[in-house]
């Protein structure tokens, strides 16, 4: 076995025309611990993605754990040996699942036996101090806990290579410390574990023996960290980095000008502010006052209520108790004037991903009512100031995390606000850019008197604040200048003060270091090749749990179907009745009245107020108030008696041709009845008998009751839409929210992934089918004459087909909007128009006929109507069943083909 864990030669990677990585060469021995540092957008995430096999290799040679990563067989064998934790707080976790369920899911994907899983999970939970919270949903965890859980999920299969992409970004110092302790414990138990970590914290990078420095897609230095750091006199890694970057002049140390003469004016004030969500108190009687021009720092563990407090101050959330004042005004969600004086930056990236950097800035300039020219100049100035010039035309969503944060900041200050509320503004931003940002903040504060309220996890930033407050579990523990706090906790530096303060508050000493993690277990379980029912089941179970916990979605799926069945059962009818008609009787004789009487007494026609002239006739038809106007000419009676065959005119509304045609049929029928009446009246002996009898037999539905034909047909309609909609978001939602990376990084095959997503929805849809059949029988009294087994089989095949159609759309689209819209647009036409519900499929022509045959709804309509009303079974309906099966197979094959196992 090779001594190299990773060997890269001439790696190159690009997105479109842009090169993210160029000419990367390095080697890493097995068991090495290596840090990857570099500014935002240097290509760190791309490099890690390539090594993890999550991204498709474009150019160069890359060997990972003894084999080329581009070789599919080797890559497949690597899944159980590599663990990859992507960037972002808990992006690859499932928020509706509890901690234990999340770990369970990953354990099953990697084929762990129950005993192994339980042992390892207990071990990891104990080590991460998460045992107490095992049943808490991941979505309700703090950022630090999410990262610890992410690590548990990554470590559950005991990998040989652990790749972490900025795991501690946005995590508070205490949690960060615990996180690295955990990693160390794991390494203690597994010396062969190679560790590759991208980080924005230089002090973290200094703890690793090896270091890779990446800048603008190029590797500028690689080697032992200690040696690299020695190139500058200070021995600091960040200065070494600047040196390798091209020997730019060492950065000026950031000087903090003293706060000018204290102004007494209070810019932000909170008094006994509390916010409760149900039983949970997120913010508990928080009080502070921030003077104008002050830089006030908010520190605290993840999830302690910092963000919530900030949201209350901006009016996004209403306070449960206490008061908050901003610039002397009580916070009021409706107060637009105050909002203009405040700049806010939320923790998660919240700009428009599709818009370019410049467009985002200019849009906000306009929304803050800056004149167009000023907006442009300010945008340009900020683009330069924040080092975004190269990216000004790029879509904001495509930027790396650090650059996105810079853009968010630029947007927050575009309108020159008097107060800035910044929620972890520098999280994920590289040190050099952070210093630049602080220069701007200091300038704003000291020269322009802008009040700045920010939260941060960086201690060196906290030290730069005029005052800081430490928050924990919704309460403010301490609030003073950094120096005073350091004194108060008798600490050497602020970080120690922070940790001590938190430990006091939590009332526990540093968690007793648990035994080295997983020392005794067997390591990675070799992967069983090919399709695995276990993995499929794991995915299906996870998907079902998510569905079952989303009661609203479940209810919509079930009741939506019932609701549609009821209103369509009553509503869809092709019997044309109650045709609104009126007469323009220009004769007003007994004969004309007798003629019209026949229409009045017909159940097909409803009479409206008579018409007085031709103009009115046209108008009333135009307004659609009448569907039919009968015009009886002057002298009708006289002409009739004289045998001059007077002509009655029937004016039909041709706007809806089908109805007009039906009406015409009825009119002729009534007219014929009139003729018969006249014939009887004129000569008692009947006219010549008919030459032949015409026997019309209405089969299957003797009384032509609409619902008997419509009811079973409507099932085909409903079961096209709801199952497809259930699965349509399956893949694309994971793409949009980020959890798709688990599919890239685990042994899940494409077929397992798709079928696992399909199964739970298939079950729900079968339940729907059963309910609809019951409704047809019980509510509408449609007799069931054929084979129930055939209906069940046909239904199963139909639901397989429609759910796979949803998945196909999901695999094809890139956004949830497109998936939802596409599903309805693609399903509507063939289901309503071509399924045979309204127009028999045998009458379709051309493309319509083709779509009618390809799309599954028509086949199931045949099966449903056939088994319900025609007493048919599989002997006659097998072609339809085959067609449905074929559709399912083709759609699934296409989805497998469209779904990629690696990112570009």
């Amino acid at each position: 076995m090779s001594a190299w864990a990773i060997r890269a030669e001439g790696l190159q990677h690009g997105y479109g025309k842009q090169l993210a990585l160029d000419g990367i060469d390095f080697k890493l021995t097995v068991g090495a611990r290596c840090a990857l540092i570099g500014p935002d957008g240097a290509g760190k995430s791309s490099l890690l993605g390539l090594i993890a096999g999550v991204k498709k290799l474009q150019r160069g040679n890359l060997e990972v754990l003894g084999g080329p990563i581009e070789q599919r067989r080797h890559r497949t064998s690597l899944y159980p040996r590599i663990a990859f934790m992507p960037q972002g707080l808990g992006h690859n976790l499932y928020p509706d699942l509890s901690i234990a369920e999340n770990i369970h899911f990953f354990a099953t994907l990697f084929g762990l036996s129950r005993a192994e899983r339980q042992a390892r999970m207990a071990n990891l939970l104990a080590a991460t101090d998460l045992t107490r919270f095992a049943e808490r949903p991941a979505g309700k965890l703090s950022g630090g806990m999410k990262q610890k859980l992410g690590l548990c999920c990554a470590l559950i299969h005991e990998p040989d290579l652990l790749i972490l992409d900025e795991p501690t970004t946005g995590v508070d110092p205490l949690s960060r410390r615990r996180f690295w302790e955990l990693v160390e414990q794991v390494r203690g138990g597994r010396p062969q574990l190679t560790l590759l970590v991208a980080t924005a914290y230089m002090e973290e990078a200094e703890q690793f023996e090896h270091c890779l420095m990446l800048d603008r897609g190029r590797l500028i230095a690689a080697g032992r960290t200690a040696e690299l750091a020695r190139v500058t006199a200070s021995g600091h890694l960040d200065e070494a980095f600047t040196h390798f970057q091209g020997g730019a002049a060492p950065r000026q140390a950031l000087l903090i000008p003293p706060l000018p003469a204290q102004s007494a004016e209070i810019a932000i004030e909170a008094r006994d502010l509390s916010l409760r969500f149900g039983d949970f108190t997120a913010v508990d009687k928080v009080s502070f006052a921030i003077r104008r021009g002050e830089i006030f720092g908010f520190l605290g563990s993840n999830g302690c209520g910092k963000t919530t407090t900030m949201k209350v101050l901006t009016g996004l959330l209403p306070a449960s108790a206490g008061s908050a004042r901003l610039l002397g005004q009580p916070v009021d969600a409706g107060d637009l004037a105050t909002r203009k004086r405040v700049g806010f930056m939320s923790q998660s990236f919240s700009l428009y991903g599709e818009l370019s950097v410049r467009q985002n800035l200019e849009l906000h300039a306009r929304l803050f009512d800056l004149p167009a020219s000023e907006g442009r100049t300010r945008s340009q100035a900020l683009i330069e100031r924040f080092g975004l010039t190269e990216h000004a035309g790029d879509a904001a969503g495509a930027l790396p995390l650090g650059l996105r944060q810079r853009l968010s900041l630029a947007v927050a200050v575009i309108h020159g606000p008097e107060v800035l509320i910044l929620d972890e503004p520098t999280s994920g931003v590289d040190p050099a850019a952070r210093d630049d940002f602080w220069r701007l903040l200091l300038e704003l504060s000291r020269e322009q008197g802008v009040t700045i309220f920010l939260s941060t996890h960086f201690m060196n930033e906290a030290e730069r604040c005029d005052r800081i407050s430490l928050m924990h579990a919704g309460r403010v523990l301490a609030c003073d200048t950094p120096a005073a706090l350091q004194q108060q906790f008798a600490a050497q530096d602020l970080e120690q003060a922070f940790v001590r303060c938190l430990e006091q508050a939590q009332g526990d000493s540093p968690a007793a270091p648990p035994a080295a993690v997983a020392a005794a277990t067997a390591g990675a379980v070799p992967l069983q090749p090919g399709f695995s029912l276990r993995r499929l089941r794991a995915l299906a179970v996870r998907e079902s749990m998510e569905l079952l916990r989303d009661r609203v979605r479940l209810a919509f799926a079930l009741f939506g179907a019932l609701f549609m069945m009821v209103i369509f059962g009553y509503g869809i009818s092709l019997d044309v009745e109650h045709i609104a008609f009126a007469a323009l009787d220009q004769d007003q004789s007994p004969h004309s009245r007798a003629y019209l009487e026949a229409f009045r007494s017909s159940r097909y026609f409803d009479e409206r107020a008579p018409i007085s002239d031709a103009g009115e006739l046209h108008r009333r038809l135009q307004r659609s108030e009448l569907k039919l106007a009968l015009q009886i000419p002057p002298g009708f009676g006289r002409d009739l008696l004289a045998g001059r065959q007077p002509q009655v005119a029937a004016w039909l509304d041709g706007g809806m041709p089908f109805r007009a045609e039906t009406s015409r049929n009825y009119i002729e029928a009534v007219h014929l009845a009139n003729l018969e009446r006249l014939a009887r009246e004129s000569s008692p002996t009947l006219a010549a008998p008919a030459v032949a009898r015409l026997e019309t037999r209405f089969r299957y539905n003797q009384d032509v009751v609409s619902v008997h034909a419509i009811g079973p047909g409507v099932m085909a309609l409903i079961l096209a839409f709801i199952p497809a909609m259930l699965t349509a978001l399956g893949v694309v939602r994971e793409k949009e929210l980020g959890s798709i990376s688990n599919f890239y990084a685990t042994p899940l095959t494409r077929l397992e992934f798709l079928l696992g997503k399909q199964l739970p929805y298939l079950v729900i849809s079968l339940l729907n089918l059963a309910m609809l059949v019951a409704l047809n029988r019980l509510l509408f009294g449609v007799p069931f004459k054929g084979s129930g087994l055939t209906l069940a089989l046909g239904g199963l095949l139909y639901l397989l087909a429609t759910t796979s159609l949803g998945l196909l759309i999901s695999a094809f689209t890139r956004t949830q909007i497109a998936a939802i819209l596409g599903t309805v647009i693609i399903t509507t036409l063939p289901t309503i128009q071509y399924s045979g519900l309204i127009v028999p499929r045998s009458s379709l022509e051309g493309g319509s006929a083709l779509m009618g045959h390809v799309f599954p709804a028509g086949h199931f309509l045949d099966i449903a109507v056939g088994t319900f009303t025609k007493a048919l079974d599989l002997r006659s309906l097998w072609p339809q069943c085959l067609a449905l099966l074929g559709f399912f197979l083709v759609a699934s094959a296409l989805s497998v083909w469209l779904l990629k196992k690696q990112e570009v």
């Binding site: 092709l574 041709p657 259930l726």
Partner: protein
């Protein structure tokens, strides 16, 4: 003034987002071209291209003559079918009508023995069964009378001329093309804005908008105008290029008035979409909530199935659906050339529904965010 500028700018942002979703644009293109053209040419509601078979046990001149009497476009050329396959042919749905001419039919007819001609109808083919049977019967009767040299029509004491206004030849395709456009407008209006709104919420951009000096009203109006603009342009192009151009439908009425009414309808249905989005907590929920709202709006608006035949409670319910009024307005304007003077009651109803949904959506908009 500033408010208008905000609404304008935010709307432009929506348009940029739309432009970047190429798959979405592909669906739009399909919805307003292929999906309008195809049904109009290939699937006409009513007796059109109906499938007929003849079981000819007589094999006489008369039986052949009866078969030849059935002609396109109403009927397909009848296919000959052996007697023993009659049931199977109807079971499979291959034919909607099967005519059975018994042996010695011609001879019996000439001998005045009043033989019976049997027409089997698949009564599950709802739109054709009843009307088609009548129509088929008339044609066969006329043929039989002709054959036996009797002319009934000339002796009728009263004549009837029926004329269809606005669409003299009752071409079903015209209406179907319009119906497809109306359907797609409904789908787009409700889904596009609702999903876009929820997506902003999931991505946190809505929070961001709400701390800007913008009111909920501005945010909503921006979404409405931008989405409405896209759909109105699609509709206009579709009418000009597909309906008038490719299908050659003569549109009698004012296109401008129609597009204005479309904009009004979009206001109403988009507001409905936003309202639904405020009821759902995630996009998957919204998708499932939207289906039982949209599909009935499409199916029961009077285009696919007549309103008059529905139970009263349902007719009453459908009066609250903007699609019912819009479909009726569309046919009145485009086919009947009706003007605002005639249409004002429906216009008022549509406006009232739009304002009601808009008011509801606005009320829930901010409160649903904090919940």
């Amino acid at each position: 003034m500033n408010k208008l500028a905000h609404i304008f700018r935010l709307g432009l942002k929506e348009l940029t987002s739309l432009r970047h979703d190429s798959v979405l644009l592909l669906f739009l293109l399909y919805a307003f071209s292929v999906a309008v053209y195809m049904p109009a040419t290939g699937s006409v509601i009513g007796v059109h291209h109906a499938s007929v078979a003849i079981v000819d046990e007589d094999r006489s001149l008369l039986s052949r003559r009866l078969a030849e009497a059935l002609q396109p476009p109403e009927f397909q050329i009848p296919e000959a079918l052996p007697y023993d396959q009659l049931d199977a042919a109807l079971d499979s749905g291959r034919f909607t009508f099967v005519i059975d001419v018994p042996a010695n039919f011609q001879a019996d007819l000439l001998a005045g023995r009043q033989p019976a001609l049997q027409v089997n109808v698949d009564a599950t083919a709802m739109s054709q069964a009843f009307m088609g049977a009548r129509y088929l019967g008339q044609i066969l009767q006329r043929e039989l009378l002709d054959y036996s040299h009797q002319d009934a029509a000339a002796q009728a004491p009263v004549g009837l001329t029926s004329r269809a206004l606005f669409n003299a030849n009752l071409q079903g395709g015209w209406f179907l093309a319009l119906l497809q456009i109306v359907n797609h407008i409904t789908i787009l209006a409700v889904l596009l804005t609702g999903t876009a709104l929820l997506r902003e919420r999931e991505h946190g951009t809505l929070d961001h908008l709400l701390v800007l000096p913008l009111t909920a009203l501005e945010i909503m109006l921006a979404k409405i105008w931008s989405n409405a603009l896209v759909v109105v342009i699609c509709t206009w192009l579709s009418l000009e290029l597909v309906v008038k151009g490719a299908l050659g439908v003569p549109l009698a009425g004012s296109l401008t008035l129609f597009l204005a009414v479309t904009a009004l309808y979009l206001f109403a249905s988009t507001a409905l979409g936003i309202f639904l989005a405020t009821l759902a907590r995630s996009i998957p929920q919204f998708g499932l909530l939207a289906i039982p709202v949209i599909i009935p709006m499409l199916m029961l608006s009077g285009g696919s199935t007549p309103l008059e035949s529905m139970p009263l409670w349902l007719q009453w319910l459908m009066q609250f659906s903007p699609s019912t009024h819009y479909l009726s307005l569309s046919t009145s304007i485009l086919f009947r050339d009706a003007g605002p003077g005639v249409l004002w009651p429906e216009l008022a109803a549509l406006t009232a529904i739009g304002l009601a949904f808009f008011g509801l959506a606005l009320r829930r908009f901010r409160s649903s965010l904090t919940a």
